[in-house]
């Protein structure tokens, strides 16, 4: 079935709404993104299906499988509509009771509800503190959408922005609208989206290409996966609008190979969009052809960089090139190419729907709209959050994230991925927008936010990022390739207790050379993690170098585990858990650790009920 014009879309939408409003069935919504599945959501789904069959509930309940809603911490969870009852941390065995009590009858099962800080039970998903301070313009509809069903997207008003654009706006007007909205790229650079489109539209050559950058290589970040898995049509709709504005007929989505479910959902969505006539010839009755091809990445971080990404689509190793000529003029196959990030594209229908005036009310002077972050690490409520630009780090960490897990102390928050930096507690009042974070020596980046506590060693973190980038540098330019190797060597030396005082200056010198002498942003920003930790956590470097101590107890060569014989009851718990059999001892007699065999995994430290294992 093809939807040929805006009135057909309107009819179709209205019919969908009438159909749902007449439905007397309840709906069980089950969140099944990659994270939900990893937490056992498939088993829950199977149990639901089995029980529904057994209890003959087909006429009374419908199951909707959705992508990730964001609150990954309490998965697997389900929501029962219309009441909106939220049951979390489920086991397959809970399903029977849910169907008996909450579907066949109208009861609420207390023990499966979410419990807040103060021990209060919360019934509705939207009342949970984690969601309250968020502004979920993009993620909010995830719970209503089965990503494999385009009708769910249309029932949320989907494709109406496209319909409006094609029916009422000239390409230049679309560009003007996006420009006025203040939308900036969400892929890290924060380049004004409307301006990029305009440059590409003005480039004289044809054909033009639009690309969606879904390479999401930033480790510890999964905003784009969340969107692709849960709401692929929002991205597709954004791309079609962009293509119309730019004057392009061919689109690509470059997706990370490590995201099988996102790839699967995107494929289904592309096919459905073609079937409904949103892609292909004469889109919505207009003389406009556009189609999108999906390209799977090869698992190289640098391929997220726009020129490397283009090389990769062309079937070459993904090496960046110098940008004397911008990709908007000469990109894919030498033709004008407009690349935007997944989240940028997903914002486009929203801007059109709300109009630039309303959209630009959200956020700060220079950063408009909302931003999705992956709030992870040592945080209590980890997950995907969407907040208005300008919210402070403190609000994110404490109000939404619920503070640090296991009552530890906050140490740092890392934003911007390998190009970003670590900010200490003193900077928690910073508003989150493109400019404030850069000024503080970090970066907003694409949206990774990794929270670190007192047990995280900042020298180790710097070493981690440098190692990551060393592996991922394409090796084309000397400062990046050699600089990273040299930095890695120095940082390794420090974490092993062989660092020298001059090493800190040396690191800064290398940072400087890399910043100035590298071709792409991987190299120019690579020193940020080192630079920011040196700036804010210098004392930790000094402890490693001068005292040969790792204050956080992470650096292997600088920690030892020891069993204190007076506290040890000889229960054998540590002996059993040690993965390398480094612990000996008879039952009920004090045990001991063989330091030469010990790999410093800390399992014994965690398992001992009598605090007899000491880390020093």
């Amino acid at each position: 079935m093809k939807i040929k014009n805006s009135s057909e879309l309107k009819n179709y939408y209205e019919n969908l709404i009438i159909k749902t409003s007449k439905r007397e069935k309840r709906t069980i919504v089950l969140s099944m993104g990659t994270c939900g599945i990893a937490r056992g959501a498939s088993d829950i789904l199977n149990s639901i299906k089995k029980e529904v069959r057994k209890r003959k509930l087909h006429n009374r309940v419908e199951i909707r499988v959705t992508g990730c809603h964001g609150f990954c911490e309490v998965e697997p969870f389900l929501i029962i509509y219309p009441q909106g009852i939220f049951y979390c941390k489920l086991q397959p065995a809970d399903v029977r009771q849910i169907l008996m009590e909450s579907i066949e009858k109208n009861n609420i099962i207390e023990r499966l509800l979410y419990t807040d800080e103060k021990g209060k039970k919360i019934i509705k998903e939207t009342d949970i503190p984690f969601y309250k301070k968020q502004m979920r313009l993009l993620l909010g509809s995830n719970r209503f959408i089965d990503p494999a069903n385009i009708d769910d997207y249309i029932a949320q008003g989907g494709y109406q922005s496209l319909s409006y654009v094609l029916g009422n706006m000239q390409p230049e007007e679309v560009i003007e609208e996006i420009k006025k909205s203040g939308l900036r790229g969400r892929g890290g650079g924060g380049f004004p989206t409307g301006r990029k489109w305009e440059l590409c539209r003005r480039a004289p050559e044809f054909p033009k290409y639009v690309i969606c950058n879904a390479d999401e290589g930033d480790p510890g970040a999964y905003m784009d996966r969340g969107l692709l898995e849960a709401n692929p049509h929002s991205i597709i709709e954004g791309m079609i609008i962009g293509a119309y504005a730019i004057g392009s007929n061919y689109g690509y989505v470059y997706v990370r190979n490590e995201y099988p479910l996102a790839i699967h959902h995107l494929n289904i969505a592309l096919q459905q969009a073609r079937d409904y006539g949103f892609l292909g010839d004469d889109i919505m009755g207009k003389d406009f052809y556009f189609d999108i091809e999906m390209v799977k990445g090869g698992g190289a971080f640098v391929c997220g960089e726009s020129t490397a990404l283009i090389a990769s689509i062309e079937g070459k190793p993904g090496e960046p090139r110098a940008k004397y000529i911008h990709t908007v003029e000469a990109g894919l196959y030498g033709k004008p190419t407009n690349i935007n990030n997944v989240e940028t594209w997903a914002n486009v229908p929203l801007v059109i729907k709300n109009g630039w005036q309303r959209y630009s009310k959200i956020g700060t002077e220079t950063s408009k709209g909302t931003k999705i972050f992956s709030l992870v690490g040592k945080i209590k409520n980890s997950g995907l959050i969407e907040v208005p630009m300008g919210i402070t780090l403190k609000q994110i960490v404490f109000d939404i994230g619920g503070g640090i897990a296991n009552s530890k102390r906050f140490k740092a928050i890392q934003t911007g991925g390998p190009s970003g930096g670590c900010l200490p507690e003193a900077h928690l009042d910073l508003p989150v927008d493109f400019d404030s974070l850069s000024e503080a020596g970090s970066m907003m980046g694409s949206g990774g936010m990794i929270v670190m506590d007192e047990d995280t060693c900042m020298v180790d973190v710097a070493r981690y990022f440098v190692n990551f980038l060393k592996e991922e540098s394409c090796g084309k330019c000397v400062p990046c390739r050699e600089g990273l190797s040299a930095m890695f060597e120095i940082l390794t030396r420090i974490t092993e207790g062989n660092g020298k005082h001059e090493d800190m200056d040396l690191l800064e010198e290398i940072s400087f050379a890399m910043k100035n002498g590298s071709l792409c942003a991987l190299g120019t920003t690579a020193s940020n993690p080192v630079f920011s930790t040196l700036k804010y956590f210098r004392d930790e470097y000094i402890a490693h170098i001068e005292k040969k101590r790792c204050p956080a107890g992470v650096c292997k060569n600088l920690v030892h585990y020891e069993i204190m014989s007076d506290a040890c009851r000889g229960c054998g718990a540590c002996l059993k858990i040690c993965p390398v059999s480094a612990i000996q001892g008879e039952k009920k007699k004090p045990h001991s650790i063989d330091d030469t065999k010990c790999i410093r995994c800390g399992e014994c430290f965690e398992v001992c009920k009598f605090s007899a294992v000491r880390r020093k």
């Binding site: 990893a38 990954c72 999964y222 971080f301 990769s312 079937g315 190793p317 992870v376 690490g377």
Partner: protein
């Protein structure tokens, strides 16, 4: 004559893949991904075959095969353990997990055990960061993994082989 040499080695399957991608030189990464998915690695003979068919120097194919992480030039073990080393997993102890697996089963990251039963690999992030540390064993994701739980899981699949 040279073509014949390669015809034996599952050339049919490879032809199928090539045709699926319209024998298109610029689709070479996708073609190699399909071969990798089919066999779990990139067999040398297949690379030579596509080099001939697509009229692309083998050196170029080799440079692609070694540039991208998704490719492996050596066959993998029967079972695969992939440990995430993304930032979120790192701060929750991902590196220690790799190390313990390495010691327990005598296998290095990127390699397989002597009996060929187990491959150990690392990845930069699986996008399940909220559940860190994350490990994937034969396609199944395990969140909040501990060393002892992973040991049980891996020993479990290895024991099944012995039966």
């Amino acid at each position: 004559m040279r073509e014949k040499e390669y015809l034996f080695n599952n050339a049919n399957k490879i032809d199928e893949i090539l045709v699926k991608h319209g024998m298109n030189r610029s689709r070479i990464v996708a073609i190699m991904q399909d071969i990798q998915n089919e066999f779990g690695y990139l067999p040398e003979k297949n690379l030579k075959y596509i080099s001939m068919k697509l009229q692309t120097p083998l050196s170029q194919i080799y440079s692609i095969a070694t540039f991208y992480r998704a490719f492996s030039l050596k066959p993998r073990g029967k079972h695969l353990v992939t440990v995430c080393l993304g930032t979120a997993c790192h701060v929750r102890g991902g590196a220690r997990i790799v190390e313990s697996i390495q010691k327990m089963f005598d296998v290095k990251p990127g390699e397989k055990t002597k009996d060929g039963l187990l491959s150990l690999e690392t990845v930069n992030c699986l996008g399940a960061c909220a559940l860190g540390p994350v490990v994937v064993v034969d396609g199944k994701y395990h969140g909040h993994i501990t060393i002892s739980r992973l040991e049980r899981i891996v020993k479990g699949i290895l024991n099944e082989n012995k039966k």
